[in-house]
């Protein structure tokens, strides 16, 4: 039971990473691959935030300037993950526009049929 308490967050985020990787490697519909990319991205962000957590810590915000800063959570991973979430959305929007163009050009989104068409 103490093993579960220590590692429940790690199990959660690595489960998401492995499910996302499985979708990208095995499935052959283009939009499903992009859904897998989104799940992988969410898992990695969760892992980065759970590295910076301290037991019984508080959020790094001084609501009144007399708060004891000894038990505050690490603020550097939170700043990096904020950037990573926005860039994930930008990449996803660009990938979906390319998928729409593939559908208009080939008529199907199945990657096996798209690879077999020659010029």
């Amino acid at each position: 039971m103490t093993f579960l308490y220590n590692y429940i967050y790690y199990i959660g985020c690595f489960g998401l990473v492995f499910i996302g990787l499985y979708i990208i490697l095995v499935k052959h519909n283009l939009i499903k691959i992009i859904i897998g990319l989104n799940i992988l991205d969410t898992g990695v962000n969760l892992f980065l935030i759970s590295i910076g957590y301290i037991k019984k810590g508080t959020a790094p915000i001084f609501s009144n300037p007399g708060i004891n800063p000894n038990r505050m959570v690490d603020p550097v991973p939170q700043a990096l993950v904020l950037t990573a979430i926005v860039i994930g959305v930008a990449v996803l929007a660009l990938a979906l526009s390319l998928a729409i163009m593939v559908y208009q050009h080939y008529g199907t989104l199945n990657l096996r049929k798209v690879k077999q068409q020659r010029w």
Binding site: I19, Y22, T58, V73
Partner: protein, 78 residues
């Protein structure tokens, strides 16, 4: 403690549902549930800025962009 374990189990269950289904619209809604539970877990890890960013960007705008892309292509996986 039990609550956090239930949330993590729900998140993994929703991700497996998004992998298995053949109806793409339901798979997108399952991925939105994953993003929402991740925002709640960010709040339990004492990170309110990141929770707000994930809830507004990851759960709302990404789902809207996916649904608009599915309208312009097929709905069912072949």
């Amino acid at each position: 403690m039990i609550f956090i374990s239930l949330l993590v189990a729900g998140m993994l269950g929703a991700a497996i549902v998004a992998c298995i289904l053949k109806d793409l619209l339901t798979a997108v809604i399952a991925s939105c549930v994953v993003s929402l539970i991740a925002a709640i877990l960010f709040f339990f890890l004492q990170a309110p800025d990141v929770a707000m960013a994930e809830a507004s960007i990851g759960a709302a705008l990404v789902t809207a962009v996916f649904v608009i892309a599915i309208i312009r292509t097929n709905r069912y996986e072949e």
